[in-house]
């Protein structure tokens, strides 16, 4: 009876349960950071990595597509971590940001977005070809998926790709986003990702909003507004380029 009531309370107050759960997870992560890594690995990086592991576990046990939040008791995590709150918090980080650095985003930001889309697309397409795909629609869709997991299905749907190919493109985009979240704090010192200028470029090159949001949170939250500023245009640019010009170019080659 006690357990049943408890379950009811937790499930019917989903968002509040999520606050408590995430708070505990963050606390544990900072403890691990301080005790086990002596502060070498940042607490937020550990928290994000633990979140991803739990997300894997959630998908594994429930078969759903929303990670840990498919477990009924933790459905609130899905709300807290959904795009609504994510974007709200990203916008809030802009408060107090350096206006001059953001305004300077213009040219170099636009350039990094275009290069970012092209780079990921070409690499995704080449990998698709090397795995034996020769159909231009499939190659374009997988290339688009390597840009972000939104560009992939949008492109695939526009070109009439099979659902199997679209699923592959989403998987490629998800891999990218997860890897950006985990990898950024480790790569950051080696690529000079420690100032507003390089964060702008990072956002434009990576493009995945979740990846950039997670990667910068784990590296230096002060850089978030700059990376998010350029990343927010990336998916739009990808959806514009992939099913049109890029598809045309792929057709020429295959």
């Amino acid at each position: 009876m006690i357990l049943e009531t408890l379950e009811n309370v937790l499930a019917s107050n989903g968002l509040i349960t999520a606050f408590m759960f995430v708070g505990a997870l963050v606390w544990l992560s900072y403890l691990i950071s301080a005790k086990l890594t002596r502060g070498q690995v940042h607490g937020s990086a550990i928290a994000i990595a633990l979140g991803l592991v739990l997300a894997w576990w959630g998908g594994f046990t429930t078969g759903g597509s929303r990670g840990l939040s498919d477990i009924p008791l933790l459905a609130g995590v899905g709300v807290l971590g959904g795009s609504m709150f994510r974007d709200f918090a990203i916008v809030a980080t802009a408060f107090g940001a350096d206006v001059r650095a953001l305004k300077g985003a213009g040219a170099v930001g636009a350039l990094s977005i275009v290069i970012g889309v092209l780079l990921s697309f070409v690499i995704g397409a080449v990998v698709a070809v090397s795995f034996g795909y020769t159909d231009p629609v499939a190659v374009t869709t997988i290339g688009a998926g390597a840009a972000t997991y939104i560009v992939g299905p949008v492109t695939g749907t526009a070109l009439g790709a099979s659902s199997e190919v679209i699923a592959l493109s989403v998987a490629a985009g998800l891999t990218k986003s997860v890897l950006v979240m985990i990898g950024t704090p480790f790569v950051a010192p080696h690529i000079g990702l420690n100032n507003a200028h390089s964060a702008l470029i990072y956002g434009g090159l990576m493009g995945t909003t979740s990846g950039v949001a997670g990667g910068l949170a784990a590296t230096d939250p002060k850089l978030v507004p700059y990376g998010a500023m350029t990343a927010t245009f990336y998916t739009g640019a990808g959806c514009l380029l992939a099913p049109s010009i890029l598809y045309f170019v792929v057709e020429l080659f295959l």
Binding site: L25, F60, A92, L119, A171, H197, L240
Partner: protein
């Protein structure tokens, strides 16, 4: 009051997402184009409006600051709701494509950062 800050933030986000959707519509793209970016610029402009005496009150600032401070926990929740299982079970091709795209993009950052450096120095 705290709610003024939260409301200002909400206003900026809604306007930004609206304009981003419209931009996507105009470009014929099924995606939001730059909504969050527009919202961030709007917040910066609106919070810097007016003279020094008309600055946001500390309480109003708290309404925005709270959500800014909630950024990391929200991102942790975001990580916990990713479809990691499907990313890892998408087969080798998806993993190779994702890994290769990320590695190349990381490698590109110093190059572009160097190129765009120009005269300004903000290191």
């Amino acid at each position: 009051m705290v709610i003024y800050g939260v409301a200002l933030l909400s206003f900026c986000m809604l306007v930004g997402v609206f304009l981003g959707d419209m931009l996507g519509e105009v470009m014929g793209v099924q995606a939001n184009v730059g909504g969050v970016g527009i919202a961030m610029l709007l917040l910066l402009v609106l919070s810097n409006l007016g003279s020094a005496e008309r600055k946001l009150s500390p309480f109003t600032e708290k309404g925005i600051g709270f959500w800014s401070a909630m950024y990391i926990p929200i991102v942790v929740a975001m990580a916990a709701r990713q479809n990691v299982f499907s990313a890892l079970s998408g087969g080798w091709m998806a993993i190779v494509a994702g890994v290769a795209a990320v590695s190349a993009s990381f490698a590109m950052i110093p190059l572009l950062a160097h190129l765009g450096r120009g005269g300004q120095d903000d290191s």
